[in-house]
């Protein structure tokens, strides 16, 4: 036994090879699964069309074609003309710029104010926090539209920046509250305590812990605030308090809707509206993609 064991010595692990699991690279199709591709494609077509409007439109969007008032869609004016004789096809691409710019600008303002207010309120002492939250409640207790009416009537003639400002200033309450509750929650977490024990400064904690946690949560609110701002702008313009008719946007095009009703020219109402709604739905679909997937437990029913 003993002699044999000497010759039959087996080195343990001589054949050991590091096990590297072969990762199948996901195919292009798989990596796209669950992502809002259709919305993305439609949205990029619309946005690109608006950016390169100069190459897309076939008439002057600001020109008045007085020979052809209220024409139904035909081969020259693809989407018809409105009661002022303007070409709707050209106006849509040109006016989309203003609408999208307003959406982005007011979403930026909402995010800026909301995050700043929420962070301050979340990190302040409980008394200050209560006062700040009370203030948002009072602002929230007036319908947003009424506040906007007040603001826009005070501002006089509107332009893109002014109207984005008005929409942004009235729309940040919900975001501020979400940020605040999230900040409060994160502040109490152990890892933040650990970071502070190790001597992490406030900016460090903010950069490394607070902001990465916040971004995933507020992303949905931020993206969907683009679409709600665009919808707000069109509502205001329709009510006659937004952009004037000569500044072309989807909203100000729809402000001619009442006149179009009298003339029974459906294309003036339906076509810009469809563009607006499609854009809004696409943006929202993309926003849903950013949303944290929660509540995945099996149902008990």
């Amino acid at each position: 036994m003993a002699g044999r064991s000497g010759s039959q010595f087996v080195v343990v692990g001589a054949n050991y090879r590091v096990h590297t699991p072969v990762l199948k690279k996901p195919t292009f199709r798989q990596s796209l699964k669950g992502k809002p591709i259709i919305s993305f494609i439609i949205l990029s077509i619309i946005v690109l069309g608006c950016i390169f409007a100069r190459h897309v439109y076939n008439h002057d969007p600001t020109g008045f074609y007085l020979q052809s008032l209220s024409q139904s869609p035909n081969s020259e004016f693809y989407f018809g003309t409105d009661s002022l004789g303007r070409d709707i096809y050209s106006m849509i691409w040109y006016g989309g710029r203003a609408s999208i710019a307003i959406g982005l600008l007011s979403a930026a303002i909402i995010t800026g104010i909301g995050v700043a207010y929420g962070c301050i309120s979340g990190t302040a002492s409980s008394r200050v926090d209560a006062v700040m939250m009370r203030a948002t409640e009072i602002v929230n207790s007036i319908p947003a539209l009424l506040l906007l009416l007040l603001l826009t009537s005070v501002m006089g003639t509107q332009n893109i920046v002014k109207i984005s400002f008005a929409i942004g200033v009235t729309g940040w309450c919900a975001l501020a509250r979400i940020v605040r509750s999230e900040v409060r929650q994160i502040r109490g977490c152990e890892y933040v305590l650990a970071a502070r024990c190790m001597g992490g400064s406030l900016p460090h904690i903010m950069r490394r812990h607070l902001i990465p946690n916040l971004v995933s949560i507020i992303m949905f609110v931020v993206v969907s605030s683009i679409s709600s701002s665009m919808s707000m702008e069109s509502t205001l313009s329709f009510l006659g308090l937004g952009l004037p008719v000569d500044v072309i946007s989807w909203g100000s095009m729809l402000s001619l809707a009442n006149k179009a009703l009298l003339l029974n020219t459906w294309w003036v109402i339906i076509i810009p509206g469809l563009f607006l709604v499609t854009t809004l739905v696409c943006i929202t679909n993309i926003a849903y993609f950013f949303r944290k997937e929660t509540n995945k437990r099996e149902t008990n029913l």
Partner: protein
């Protein structure tokens, strides 16, 4: 002896409870008055910052032909002279006596312009409010019972799309289809001339505004309630009820729905400003004579006395109804304390966003 002690203790507890309730009510009324004051100061200062000259909208072109003394007299008559805080104190002391100033456009006391319209708005808004929440609750119950089935998914998808249709556009399209082309329904007003007492006529005028309001709010709230119900369905007592042999509908309607009911009342309370916004849009689109359409008009013509009154009325409506909802909640759900109010509000907002 022991019995007596017990009864006096109980009496004390009841007394304590009563004073607690009274204290709570006093606190709420105090908060209400404070909120109204803050609101009115804010709106008043704000309105005076406006660029448009109120005199211009009151007198029109006649302003240009007036001399300085006449202008000053006109300002004094309309309460537009002196520093802002004096103007405000004058305004508030008048307001306590029911005088909210002259409407600059209609040249009548603002209260007289607003008061006949408040009823119209309340009828429209109230009907829409009740219908929205009835339908939303029903839809949410159906969705929660059939979670992740085709029905649920279709409702969610269609709902998302419907929520992002701007309500004014929906209204205009409805007018285009049903009153311009098909001529089934009237396109504007609350009633035809001389038929203010005719109920069927009023109902016909309300159908389209109601449809617009319901379609633009229904999904939002049913989705919220649905999510709440889905959270509830995942709790352990559902498993117990199921093992006892309760049917699905029994569990959802008798157990889950009851537990969610306070949340629904809370959602209803915070939804009031949102639904009122909807009323404003519907009123402006359909030219329905209500305070919403009036607010839009007065904002257009810089009629600040009127706008302020509308803002105050809206604020009163909203704050009062949220107080009522809180009280109802405490009655139907004793677990609900005033400290928890902010918590559910956040929960609701997180679930809808």
């Amino acid at each position: 002896m022991a019995y007596d002690e017990k009864s006096t203790n109980e009496g004390g507890a009841v007394l304590n409870q009563k004073t607690a309730v009274i204290n709570k009510i006093i606190k709420r009324i105090g908060g209400f008055i404070l909120a109204m004051l803050v609101l009115s100061v804010g709106v008043f200062y704000f309105a005076r910052l406006a660029p448009g000259d109120p005199l211009q909208s009151f007198y029109g072109d006649a302003v240009e032909s007036m001399n300085q003394a006449e202008l000053d007299a006109a300002r004094a008559r309309l309460g537009l002279d002196g520093p802002i805080y004096l103007q405000y104190s004058k305004w508030i002391s008048n307001a306590c006596e029911g005088d909210f100033g002259l409407s600059l456009k209609y040249k009548m006391p603002a209260l007289d312009v607003v008061s006949p319209l408040v009823g119209n708005t309340l009828i429209l808004g109230g009907t829409a409010y009740i219908l929205v929440f009835l339908l939303a609750t029903l839809l949410a119950l159906l969705c929660a019972m059939h979670e992740d089935t085709l029905f649920d998914r279709i409702v969610c998808k269609v709902g998302t799309a419907a929520y992002y249709i701007p309500p004014f556009w929906l209204g205009v399209v409805l007018v285009l289809i049903f009153s311009v082309n098909l001529q089934w329904l009237p396109s504007s007003g609350a009633y035809d001339i001389g038929k203010s007492g005719d109920i069927s006529n009023r109902v016909r005028h309300m159908i389209m505004p109601l449809i617009v309001m319901i379609l633009s709010h229904l999904w939002y709230y049913s989705y919220m309630i649905r999510n709440k119900l889905l959270d509830e369905v995942r709790k352990d007592y559902v498993l117990l009820a199921k093992s006892k042999g309760c049917t699905k509908s029994e569990i959802v309607f008798k157990h889950c729905f009851r537990n969610v009911a306070p949340t629904i009342v809370s959602i209803m309370a915070i939804s009031i400003p949102h639904v009122l916004s909807g009323t404003y849009i519907a009123e402006s689109v359909f030219n329905y004579p209500g305070i919403g359409a009036l607010a839009v008009q007065s904002a257009k013509y810089h009629d600040y006395n009127l706008l302020m009154l509308v803002v105050l009325i809206t604020g009163i409506l909203v704050i009062l109804s949220s107080i009522i909802a809180q009280t109802i909640n405490e009655v139907i759900d004793p677990r609900m304390k005033s400290t928890e109010v902010s918590t559910w509000r956040e929960e609701v907002e997180a679930s809808l966003s």
